[in-house]
């Protein structure tokens, strides 16, 4: 492990966060709010980053897989802490609440501990949305895109941060890959901002929501989320962009470069859209009442389904009033999540799809013991190592979620609240059910629960193994 260089990289990333904090600072100055909260945060980020960069300067820039885990895991922890500072210095939240809110932001979860967002200064609201936007496509990926210092070793970092079992390059060079992905991300964000503005939303709110939609984050500038805006057009636009954000960005790249056919044949995309369509139909049927306009039921159902499936976590109605079957559908969607290579969370469509397929193959092996039957995806045989990685991931995911639920339950909460808050945290969704439902927030949890949930969010965003590796004793003994 090249610890010197790893710390240097983390230092650089702290400087980067300091740079990003200049945006809310500028906004605060522009609208005449207090600039002090952001100046303090910038001071801490720049100061600490500067010290690290100066004292850990090194010529040895080799990065091995272990370094990838250390840099990515370390960066996300440090960045979350830095991102929490403005909440504290602005006097909005206490220490653990600020950390929870910041982690919930960067991991694009969208669970909030702020009871009344209308009391939060606008510059801070923008920072809150920005944390999600930066975390969505990945802050490391951003670094790879703009800073050449990572060189060849960047692939280890890329693999450790990109969601999904396999990391795909869309360009021969990693830096151009990162730039292409970020360009698509920025482009889609701008498009949604424009659409929302045209639909009647104010420029500031449109920007905040565009940031948190594309990141599948879910922070809103309204207390009861999107429903409060009350514009059907806005809901349709957001549904569309949530769906786009839940699709693998490599596919977006292929669409832009005219490789439509490959996109249409993509089995994961078909599966993802199939799940979304099926769930929408089920929820629509369950929700529909005679005398109601079908289009309205469809809007409400598709918004809820897409919001939870892509792990965005926006809310257009209080879905806790829905029939139990619809709630169960939402709970399942919460686990399934978006496509690999998207900004969505959950276990990812590809893992769900491949585990189904390998289950089917296993059943066939029972009937035909001599059968040679590989698991295939897109006509290509899936490596056994990838498959066992997926099973290990699913096991770890379930165990972590159960652990989280146990902690919440130990603090006296009911089963539904415990289970759904753990699932929503590790899946980076946002709202849960029960005491953390559509119109509730997470402020009432004790500090221990908030800390555990915050770590579940980080585990979920970094796909468990990246962070879990740091907790293995053998990792540090090498």
């Amino acid at each position: 492990m090249n610890v010197r260089f790893d710390v240097l990289l983390v230092g650089w990333l702290m400087l980067l966060v300091g740079t990003f904090l200049c945006v809310p600072l500028g906004v605060a100055l522009f609208i005449g709010d207090s600039a002090v909260p952001y100046l303090v945060a910038i001071g801490v980020a720049a100061g600490a980053g500067f010290v690290l960069v100066r004292s850990f300067a090194t010529e040895d820039r080799r990065i091995r897989p272990a370094d990838g885990f250390l840099v990515v895991g370390g960066t996300w922890l440090v960045v979350s802490v830095l991102g929490a500072i403005p909440y504290v210095t602005a006097g909005v939240l206490g220490l653990e609440d600020a950390f929870f809110e910041s982690v919930s932001g960067f991991t694009t979860t969208g669970s909030t501990v702020i009871a009344d967002v209308t009391m939060v200064p606008r510059a801070l609201l923008l920072w809150r949305a920005m944390t999600q936007w930066l975390g969505g496509m990945g802050i490391i990926l951003f670094t790879i895109a703009i800073l050449p210092l990572l060189g060849i070793g960047g692939m280890q970092l890329f693999k450790a941060e990109v969601p999904g079992p396999v990391a795909d390059k869309v360009q021969p060079r990693l830096a151009s890959t990162a730039r292409s992905l970020w360009a698509i991300y920025v482009g889609l964000t701008a498009l949604e901002w424009l659409a929302l503005k045209l639909a009647g939303l104010g420029g500031f709110e449109a920007l905040c929501h565009a940031f948190t939609t594309l990141a599948t984050g879910g922070f809103s500038t309204r207390n009861t989320s999107i429903g409060e805006i009350g514009l059907p057009a806005v809901e349709w636009i957001i549904t569309l962009f949530m769906l786009l954000a839940g699709i693998n960005f490599v596919l977006h790249f292929k669409i832009i470069t005219g490789r439509w056919r490959e996109v249409w044949r993509d089995a994961e995309l078909r599966y993802f859209l199939g799940v979304a369509a099926l769930a929408t139909v089920v929820v629509t049927v369950v929700l529909h009442r005679p005398g109601q306009a079908l289009l309205e039921t469809l809007r409400v159902a598709s918004f809820g389904v897409v919001s939870i499936l892509t792990t965005t976590g926006y809310v257009s109605v209080d879905f806790e009033l829905w029939p139990q079957l619809a709630l169960l559908v939402l709970l399942i969607l919460m686990v399934l999540g978006g496509m690999s290579g998207s900004t969505g969370g959950g276990i990812k469509s590809l893992r769900a799809l491949l585990s189904f397929r390998s289950l089917r193959v296993m059943m066939q092996r029972l009937i035909h013991p001599h059968a040679v039957r590989p698991v295939k995806f897109g006509g290509v045989v899936v490596n056994e190592a990838v498959l066992s990685g997926i099973w290990a991931f699913l096991t770890a995911y379930a165990l972590l979620a159960l652990f989280g639920a146990a902690v919440v339950a130990a603090c006296g909460y009911d089963l539904l609240t415990s289970l759904s808050s753990a699932l929503t945290a590790i899946g980076n969704v946002g709202p849960g059910l029960g005491d953390v439902g559509a119109y509730d927030n997470f402020a009432h949890f004790p500090a221990a629960v908030k800390l555990v949930l915050a770590f579940l969010m980080l585990f979920g965003r970094l796909e468990i193994f990246t962070l879990l590796a740091l907790f293995m004793p053998s990792f540090w003994r090498r």
């Binding site: 066939q364 035909h368 001599h370 059968a371 040679v372 039957r373 590989p374 295939k376 290509v380 045989v381």
Partner: protein, 449 residues
């Protein structure tokens, strides 16, 4: 006509023999001198030792006045070079290359086309797959060739001793079985071929070729004392080129396929390429395994491993275990007759098939499709009657068809019929003619005149 055959293996030597019998002056070029001495002893051909892919050797073989060039070595690359030198450098009018790889075939077509003339790439495995695919719908047939866009089959059956056909006069066929219109187009009896007339009769142990509508296959089967197997499954032994390609085509048609091979790596490769086929790792001669995978209920069993003796054994085993019909890939011509008597329904020889294809290419004049049946003695031609053709000049009995030529079917305005002496052919009709290669010259004269 001067013909050069490069490669003196089974394909090259068989082809050379048939070409010589057809009256061509044949030169065989082969590197292996041992093969050559044997060849010049058996056949009336000139032999030349050397690398046929080189210009000096080809010049010595007389490529400058050569009109037919065949590249039949075992190496695709060598055949490619021979064929390209022949087409591009010497502008040989007709060139045939045996190419297994479809990628090579594509480059061959693209490159050889530049020299002008007729070019043909033959893929023995592909030919074998097509043969098996045409045999599968006609259980019990040893040979099936589709004509008139598949609306008419010419199918050969061995006549069993106690069948309705034994001792039957051909002229009675239509009267006795009006529900099953069929025409006997050729009979092979004790190694001799007959293009039959109404007075000929069918005997047990004959190999009889019928022209029939695909819908009436089951009727003919019933008369032969056979029935269509119940299952739909096809089991293939051997994940070879033939096996995998066959499985791919069948699964594309929705047929459930089981593919067995003893080589783990071949199984994995096949499983990667195939989607719905059940790939089984095991010996195709393992009785328990075959039974476990439901051999008793399969519609067809195809043995196509690299080891042709294994193919015979596993096909016999499958036949014993109750497979609906069995096929074995086998190249050794000496075995063909022997095996047919043991209960394997049909033998598929990729090499002999490529010889047939090459011969058809040579013999083809203005005809639309030619298939040489089994020994390449009987030929079936599909032609279109031209406006001023003698075919369309009057009633069939009056137009003076040469001896040994039979009109098997006429497609007139989308209707297919077996014509009698009183019927006539109209310009634009598609006509199926049967003849032996000995009489083919007379037929050509008739059609040309």
């Amino acid at each position: 006509m001067r013909a050069i055959v490069v490669g003196g293996g089974l394909v090259g030597s068989t082809l050379a023999g048939k070409l010589a019998a057809d009256g061509h002056d044949v030169v065989v070029v082969e590197r292996n001198r041992l093969l050559l001495t044997d060849l010049s002893d058996r056949l009336d051909v000139k032999t030349l030792a050397g690398n046929g892919a080189t210009v000096p050797v080809l010049l010595e073989a007389g490529i400058e006045e050569c009109e037919l060039l065949f590249a039949t070595t075992d190496s695709d690359e060598a055949n490619m070079v021979v064929a390209l030198v022949g087409s591009a450098l010497f502008h040989v009018p007709r060139v045939v290359a045996r190419l297994r790889d479809s990628g090579h075939q594509e480059s061959f077509r693209a490159l050889a086309a530049e020299g002008g003339g007729q070019r043909l790439a033959i893929n023995p495995e592909q030919a074998a797959v097509e043969r098996i695919l045409s045999l599968l719908p006609v259980p019990g047939a040893v040979d099936v060739v589709p004509f008139l866009d598949g609306r008419l089959l010419v199918a050969g059956f061995n006549i069993p001793a106690k069948s309705d056909f034994d001792g039957l006069l051909l002229s009675h066929l239509r009267l006795l079985f009006p529900a099953t219109p069929m025409l006997v187009v050729a009979i092979r009896r004790k190694g001799r071929w007959i293009v039959p007339h109404g007075e000929d009769e069918i005997r047990a142990d004959d190999l009889v070729y019928f022209a029939l509508d695909p819908e009436h296959v089951d009727g003919v089967l019933a008369l032969l004392g056979r029935s269509r197997p119940a299952g739909r499954n096809v089991m293939i032994a051997g994940a070879t080129r033939i096996g995998v390609e066959l499985a791919e085509t069948l699964e594309g048609r929705g047929v459930p396929v089981t593919l067995v091979d003893e080589r783990r790596a071949a199984c994995e490769e096949a499983a990667a390429r195939l989607d719905r086929t059940l790939v089984i790792h095991g010996l195709p001669t393992d009785r328990d395994l075959l039974e476990e995978e439901g051999i008793a209920a399969v519609y067809g069993f195809v043995a196509c491993t690299e080891d042709h003796e294994v193919n015979v054994v596993s096909a016999l085993l499958a036949n014993r275990l109750g497979a609906g019909q069995t096929f074995a890939v086998l190249d050794n011509p000496a075995f063909v007759d022997l095996v047919g008597e043991l209960g394997i329904d049909a033998i598929i020889s990729p090499r002999l098939l490529s010889v047939s294809l090459a011969l058809q290419f040579v013999r083809r004049g203005r005809v639309r499709a030619v298939a040489a049946l089994l020994d390449d003695v009987v030929e079936v031609m599909e032609i279109e009657a031209a406006a001023l053709s003698r075919l369309a000049s009057g009633r069939l009995a009056e137009i003076g068809l040469p001896k040994g030529v039979l009109v098997a079917a006429v497609q007139h305005e989308n209707r297919i019929a077996v014509p009698g002496g009183g019927d006539r052919i109209y310009p634009g009709d598609r006509v199926l003619l049967i003849t032996t290669s000995g009489d083919a010259g007379r037929l050509d004269g008739f059609l040309g005149g």
